[in-house]
């Protein structure tokens, strides 16, 4: 009996998790008439018209390119800085560690609206609105708490004797960090990279505010603003959404173990 309940629950949970996305994907393969038919058509005709239209008329590939550039750069720089800071917080003797970690946690909770206006003004005065760095740098700031949190917890797990042994061998601090610690914490680095990438790829609020020129906009902004005064192109929106989500779904399926480990790093260590 218990077993049956268990299987049913599992099935329902999986089904509900995947249904909305499957439906949208289904929609991206329909003709315009099928999309707006009442009642809805269940089996699509399998046309790629929506994708074609999204690419040709709605600049879908430009959005993808921008998202890749922004998310990729953010991930690279955030991980780099997180390695530095995470290591320092985890292993080195530093005063006020608690305060620093606490304030990082606080930063991750800042409501976007509270910093949006001033950040916008700063970027405006630097002339960095509608530029890649204008979005990447705030993103780095926003994802640092996440990166540092994960990397610190992974660094903490490594045996304490490592540094002492390295010290005995006369390694400099930098060498210790990059030649010994990082390779050993590689899983953590990898996990943090995935999580940061997902965050940067999905971010909407700042992308909406900072990138107003179409040639710089990222996927989420593009998808949110597909609607024009005269058209609500559900097919193209579904197609663009699929394109925006498929890479992430792949990441999740391949790396689900790591992701789970990374997300619960805070919980376990706490």
């Amino acid at each position: 009996m218990n077993r049956l309940l268990f299987y049913i629950t599992t099935f329902v949970v999986v089904f509900l998790s995947l249904l909305p996305f499957a439906w949208f994907f289904n929609t991206s393969l329909k003709t315009p008439l099928e999309i707006t038919s009442i009642p809805p058509v269940l089996i699509p005709s399998g046309t790629l018209r929506s994708y074609q239209s999204a690419i040709e008329e709605y600049n879908l590939l430009h959005y993808v390119k921008n998202s890749v550039i922004v998310a990729g750069s953010t991930t690279f720089f955030t991980i780099l800085i997180s390695i530095f800071a995470g290591y320092a917080l985890a292993r080195l003797r530093l005063k006020y560690k608690g305060v620093i970690m606490g304030s990082l946690l606080l930063v991750s909770m800042f409501p976007q609206i509270s910093i949006a206006g001033p950040v916008w003004k700063i970027l405006q005065s630097l002339g960095w609105l509608n530029s890649y760095q204008g979005l990447i740098i705030p993103y780095i700031t926003l994802t640092l708490p996440l990166g540092i949190w994960i990397l610190a917890s992974f660094f903490r797990e490594l045996p304490g004797e490592l540094e002492d042994a390295a010290r005995i061998d006369g390694c400099s601090h930098f060498q210790t960090l990059f030649k010994i610690m990082v390779p050993l914490a590689a899983p953590g680095v990898f996990t943090a990279a995935i999580l940061v990438f997902i965050y940067a790829w999905n971010e909407f609020f700042f992308a909406l505010l900072i990138m107003t020129q179409q040639k710089f906009q990222t996927l989420p902004v593009g998808i949110a603003l597909f609607q024009g005064q005269y058209t609500l192109p559900w097919g193209e929106i579904a197609a663009a959404s699929t394109v925006a989500t498929v890479p992430l779904v792949f990441l999740v399926f391949i790396f689900q173990k790591r992701i789970v480990r990374g997300l619960s790093a805070g919980a376990i260590k706490g």
Binding site: S103, G160, L209
Partner: protein
């Protein structure tokens, strides 16, 4: 040879050098966070004390003290959006923890294909919020929405406009949010579940405890920290809801889904009332700050203590 003499002047202990190194490592992070996170918060405070209307630059930016805050107290729309936000936070967080618990209990067991199931449950979390919002907007559509089809089948005359009524529109937003983030809550709780040693359950079973009793007496108390952490993260995120409202309802109908962050956005960026809008953003920040402090006190400072 130079370096040898250089070193002769240095009597730095390992400890000091390490401190310097540590400070050097922290510096980039510190700089970024200070400029783009802490400074903006302070600047928001500063802006909220002025009257700033971007559309009328001729009026300048006079200092008006707490006038904006006084106006905020009597702003019915702001109060309404505050209430909306609180209701959203409570209902979505409660549901997410509940479903998260279910998910965690399911995933805790070892079974074949657990990896696949875990991945499937993570998909909602990985999807961009904007995509999720468009998806749900489409599902709730009053003509070709999937929900109408599931509930009413082909009886198209009964199709409901879910997003047209204040209560159902609000529920729709909560539903979309719960769908998206229950798995995240589930993962956090799962981490807690996995720290419970099996022997405890063994012992309880030998003593004749039922599954429900085991749950109540063993599981719940031991996952309390994980539950609280999940609660903390979800509450913070729920207060900041924006994408869902922007894409699904734009605050309507009749402001029923107008939440604080969306209202602040409209004030600052759509209406150009930067002074007053900053007041709202300060309010949101204070609320989150207070809630965060409260949670952290409850969870304890274990999280921040250094290890070894």
């Amino acid at each position: 040879m130079n370096h040898v003499s250089f070193f002769s002047q240095m009597k730095l202990s390992l400890l000091t050098r390490e401190k310097i190194f540590a400070i050097a490592l922290i510096t980039p992070c510190f700089l970024l966070v200070a400029t783009l996170a802490f400074y903006p918060i302070l600047y928001s405070f500063y802006l909220s004390l002025h009257k700033i209307i971007l559309g009328l630059p001729s009026l300048g930016q006079p200092f008006i003290g707490l006038e904006n805050f006084r106006e905020l107290l009597s702003d019915k729309v702001a109060i309404h959006s505050l209430i909306n936000t609180f209701i959203f936070v409570f209902s979505s967080t409660f549901l997410e923890i509940f479903f998260g618990l279910v998910i965690a209990l399911v995933l805790n067991k070892h079974f074949r294909g657990r990896g696949m199931v875990r991945a499937a449950i993570l998909v909602p979390w990985a999807i961009p919020t904007v995509v999720s919002s468009q998806m749900w907007r489409f599902i709730f559509n009053d003509n070709y929405g999937l929900l109408n089809y599931i509930v009413f089948g082909s009886v198209t005359s009964s199709y409901t406009a879910w997003l047209a009524h204040p209560v159902s529109a609000f529920s729709a937003i909560v539903a979309a949010d719960v769908w998206k983030t229950s798995s995240f809550a589930g993962l956090l709780i799962l981490a807690g579940l996995q720290t419970i040693p099996d022997e405890l359950y063994e012992a309880a079973r030998i003593d004749g405890a039922s599954a429900w009793q085991q749950f109540r007496k063993i599981t719940l108390p031991l996952i309390k920290p994980a539950l609280l952490i999940a609660l903390l993260f979800r509450t913070m995120d729920a207060f900041r809801v924006f994408d869902l409202v922007f894409v699904m309802t734009q605050g309507g109908p009749a402001d029923s889904t107008n939440v604080l962050q969306f209202y602040g956005y409209k004030k600052i960026f759509a209406e150009g009332l930067m002074g007053y809008g900053s007041t709202i953003s300060v309010l949101v920040f204070l609320i989150i700050f207070i809630v965060a402090i409260f949670y952290i006190k409850v969870i304890g400072t274990r999280l921040f203590q250094e290890k070894g």
